[in-house]
């Protein structure tokens, strides 16, 4: 297990450094970026930027300093909000994005897997067709179409739910964003789970379990699920990436002041430091999730430990 973690970190850390180098490089070529000469900035920011990036030092050294600052968790000052650092901005949005993201991922995983398993057991019945039909809609209707339609219907037309704002994390304010964020993932996960469960149900060891006279329910819980859930574990990181990009849109639509919102505002205003800070945060989170899904896989599948 420890070997596996070390091996993964050996890939993850260089990858992160490459991403950071890429972001660092982009900021140098960006027109009107922090490193071009013809900038017209208020002197306070100019001063801060110069300090932050040690512009008087050679390039490699600058990158080294930049890296070591990131390693310490310092993402530098914001390029547009002169009184804030990128850390402060991200920290203010993080609880909101995290609540949204974690609820969405838990709901997608639980509901998606459950629907997929039941559809596989009851395949070619009305239940199966219904789940697959709904998941098809989930795949074909992008979140930026779904979310406004949901808020039009439940928020404005029926008046059940608030359509925007955070309201201190009130559960009613969370429902529409979380639902719009998780529906596409539920659709994908339930499809994956259905096909992997069908594959497992047709495998030889399930025939053995039936020949042993094990009751159906126990076959599903003890023999099928642990095998058929493996593709979902592998999908954990891509699902998170999907939720990250999804949350950028969802926070925009529902007026939630999360990280995604800052990212868009930063992008529109060319706040390079903020945008690269968010990019680095997202990339690190993804690396962490890839590691997590590898560990989970090793726990669930005894065959992995050998390698």
């Amino acid at each position: 297990m420890i070997q596996l973690i070390i091996k993964r970190l050996a890939i993850a850390i260089p990858t992160l450094i490459i991403i950071i180098a890429f972001v660092f490089g982009l900021m140098r070529v960006a027109p009107g970026g922090p490193f071009t000469n013809e900038r017209a900035l208020p002197p306070e920011i100019e001063q801060k930027i110069n300090e932050a990036y040690d512009l008087d030092k050679p390039l490699i050294q600058q990158f080294g300093i930049y890296l070591s600052k990131i390693a310490k968790g310092d993402l530098g000052p914001s390029y547009k909000y002169k009184d804030f650092t990128v850390n402060e901005l991200i920290l203010s949005g993080f609880p909101i994005s995290l609540t949204l993201g974690i609820s969405a991922i838990i709901i997608s995983l639980l509901l998606g897997s459950l629907l997929g398993i039941i559809a596989a057991i009851k395949r070619n019945t009305i239940f199966d067709y219904a789940v697959m039909g709904i998941s098809l809609i989930g795949i074909c209707v992008p979140s930026f179409v779904l979310a406004p339609i949901l808020s039009l219907f439940f928020g404005l037309y029926l008046g059940f739910l608030p359509i925007s704002g955070w309201n201190g994390g009130n559960i009613y304010n969370l429902i529409l964003p979380v639902v719009s964020l998780s529906l596409p993932q539920i659709a994908i996960i339930s499809r994956m789970m259905r096909s992997s469960t069908i594959e497992t149900l047709n495998s030889n060891f399930i025939r053995t379990a039936r020949a042993k006279g094990i009751p159906k329910r126990r076959i599903i819980t003890k023999h099928v699920i642990r095998s058929s859930i493996l593709p979902i574990i592998d999908y954990l990181a891509p699902a998170t990436a999907g939720l990250m990009t999804g949350s950028i849109i969802i926070e925009q639509i529902f007026g939630l002041p999360g990280i995604g919102r800052y990212f868009v505002v930063g992008a529109l205003q060319r706040d390079y430091t903020l945008v690269s800070g968010v990019m680095i945060l997202y990339a690190s989170l993804l690396m962490f999730l890839i590691l997590l899904s590898d560990i989970l896989r090793a726990i669930l599948d005894p065959r992995v430990k050998i390698k």
Partner: protein
């Protein structure tokens, strides 16, 4: 015994028999699939309407009319899908948006297919260390939150529509490269490749003449599945205000405007959304149908 002598060209022709019947059979099977056939019809209609429709409509897409702001859909007024806050006809705007969304879908997909196929065939055909290194790069790029990456490209280089094509194409090629590599590895083991090699054909010619034609089926399937994801990506960026800019319009721009004004004019959201969803669903069904049709093992 009568020994026939073949020229190199003859042999080439014999060795590269593509089995046209496979593709025409596949097409027949595709037409038998009801979902795919319906999707094919819907998609053709939307494409034809987007390309030729605007010439036959009485309104222009930039024509503002302050006397007909937020008109609901009606047949009498000639605004079949209503008008927006500037009194512009929504139907025409949807068709113009469709031109842009569809062409971005096609062009960016082509960019990614060219990159992906080249990269994948080279890695797969030459194998060894080159393959390991190339695939490791793909793996690393896979781990990037690539939409955010596109956004950063758009931020740094400004919102330019050609860059948009390139940026989207540049991130979508990864899957294609992986699939093409896998297929190339299995094709290169086949006897007809061995035969071409023994004739002294160069690697470049073998890839162009023998490997790529045999990949055609797979590539077509993935094109139909990639176009929708590119359309979504473009709309996503446009929705955030980072993609297509006024006066140009795309489905993403229209949906974005519509969602801001849905309280006053629901049609501004529903109709562009409907066009987009229909297109995405059709492409998905066609892709699935093609995959089944090209893989006759099931039958």
């Amino acid at each position: 015994m009568n020994i026939k002598h073949y020229s190199k060209d003859d042999l080439d022709n014999i060795l590269s028999v593509k089995g046209n019947s496979l593709y025409s059979d596949a097409f027949k099977r595709l037409l038998k699939n009801k979902a795919s056939l319906t999707s094919l019809i819907i998609l053709s209609l939307i494409t034809l309407l987007s390309v030729f429709g605007p010439y036959f409509l009485q309104y222009d897409f930039y024509e503002t009319d302050w006397n007909s702001i937020y008109l609901p859909p009606s047949i009498e007024s000639g605004h079949y899908f209503g008008t927006d806050g500037n009194g512009r006809d929504l139907f025409v705007r949807i068709l113009y948006g469709g031109r842009l969304s569809l062409s971005i879908g096609i062009i960016a997909t082509l960019v990614s297919v060219i990159i992906g196929v080249t990269y994948g065939t080279i890695a797969g055909y030459f194998g060894g260390k080159l393959d390991t290194v190339m695939m490791r790069i793909v793996e690393i790029l896979y781990a990037m939150p690539y939409l955010i990456f596109v956004i950063i490209l758009m931020v740094v280089f400004g919102r330019n529509i050609y860059l948009l094509f390139l940026a989207i194409g540049a991130v979508e090629w990864l899957t294609m490269a992986r699939i093409v590599r896998g297929q190339t590895i299995s094709i290169k083991e086949k006897e007809f490749i061995e035969a071409s090699k023994s004739l002294g054909q160069s690697s470049f010619l073998i890839i162009i003449k023998h490997i790529i034609p045999n990949l055609a089926g797979t590539i077509i399937v993935y094109i139909t599945l990639m176009v929708p994801s590119v359309i979504i990506l473009e709309s996503f960026l446009s929705f955030l205000g980072l993609g297509v800019q006024e006066p140009l319009t795309s489905w993403g721009v229209l949906i974005s405007e519509g969602s801001r004004e849905m309280e006053t004019a629901w049609w501004l959201l529903i109709f562009p959304g409907l066009f987009m969803v229909l297109t995405l669903a059709s492409l998905n069904f066609i892709g699935d149908g093609l995959r089944d049709a090209l893989d006759p093992k099931e039958y």
